[in-house]
Symmetry: C2
Amino acid sequence: MEQRIERIKKQLHSQSYKLTPQREATVRVLLEHEEDHLSAEDVYMLVKEKSPEIGLATVYRTLELLNELKVVDKINFGDGVSRYDLRQEGAAHFHHHLVCIECGSVDEIQEDLLEDVEKVVERDWNFIIKDHRLTFHGICYRCRDPKSK
Amino acid sequence: MEQRIERIKKQLHSQSYKLTPQREATVRVLLEHEEDHLSAEDVYMLVKEKSPEIGLATVYRTLELLNELKVVDKINFGDGVSRYDLRQEGAAHFHHHLVCIECGSVDEIQEDLLEDVEKVVERDWNFIIKDHRLTFHGICYRCRDPKSK
DNA sequence: CTATTAGATGATAATAATTATAAAAACTTT
DNA sequence: AAAGTTTTTATAATTATTATCATCTAATAG
């Protein structure tokens, strides 16, 4: 945890940004909820627990900044809010998501899976891929068979 | 065109909805701009040209309805607005998109491409896929080589 | 050390997209 | 034609996000 914060700090410094206490508090919340897909409002509430003086605008600004630095990815599952998802350290590509239409859960797929598809797209559409978003909507293993957990 | 409207009308009727003049005008705009990725506001403006009395809320409701019927798909490219994209008639799967980070253009890929990936996901994640969203962000062929068109 | 300056923050106002509401209109059914 | 249902319009309300600006902080120059 401390090491990851240290590395993010370096990343900020390399672009001459500082890791202010507010930014650090925000990053900590993101690290502590790596599995989740928090909205800006969610992050704000969680940061407030530890740093009650923080303002909502600062959280938005910090998330925007972390997005620029590719520390987080901003995603939208079509429910009207942006969500912020920590990128795996050193991951070349953004991971994929499984959204359950029954229970609303969001699971992550870290495997690449798209290597072949991207080769085809780059060749056949003459398109240079910089990033991607892949989300499947369907029924998760929990809803499919409620007995398994 | 008329045939497609006729079929959409049938689809509505089968769920006991009517193809009101406002709904028809909205569908016509979508058909006339099949290549585009219009926001609700865009659709509203275009419908107004032919049917100036239409209200914005009706356009939203109609798009929502068409989305439920899977006549259109609602997508979000991360720019804060929902866009509505006509689904190819009889297409089992939603098509993919290429978003250019230089010029903002959005091209469509009608090919499936994901068959193999979906098999893996259904098997390894025990997930029943009902729908998907795949978008690539990168540099389109126009921006890559401005001389080609 | 203090004064200066640039960057960051907090409170809040402004904006923009979308949804909710309620009265009027348009069809349907009786 | 009357009653009932659905749809629409106009507009208010809501929600997420961004902009503004006075204040604060931290680094730097004198």
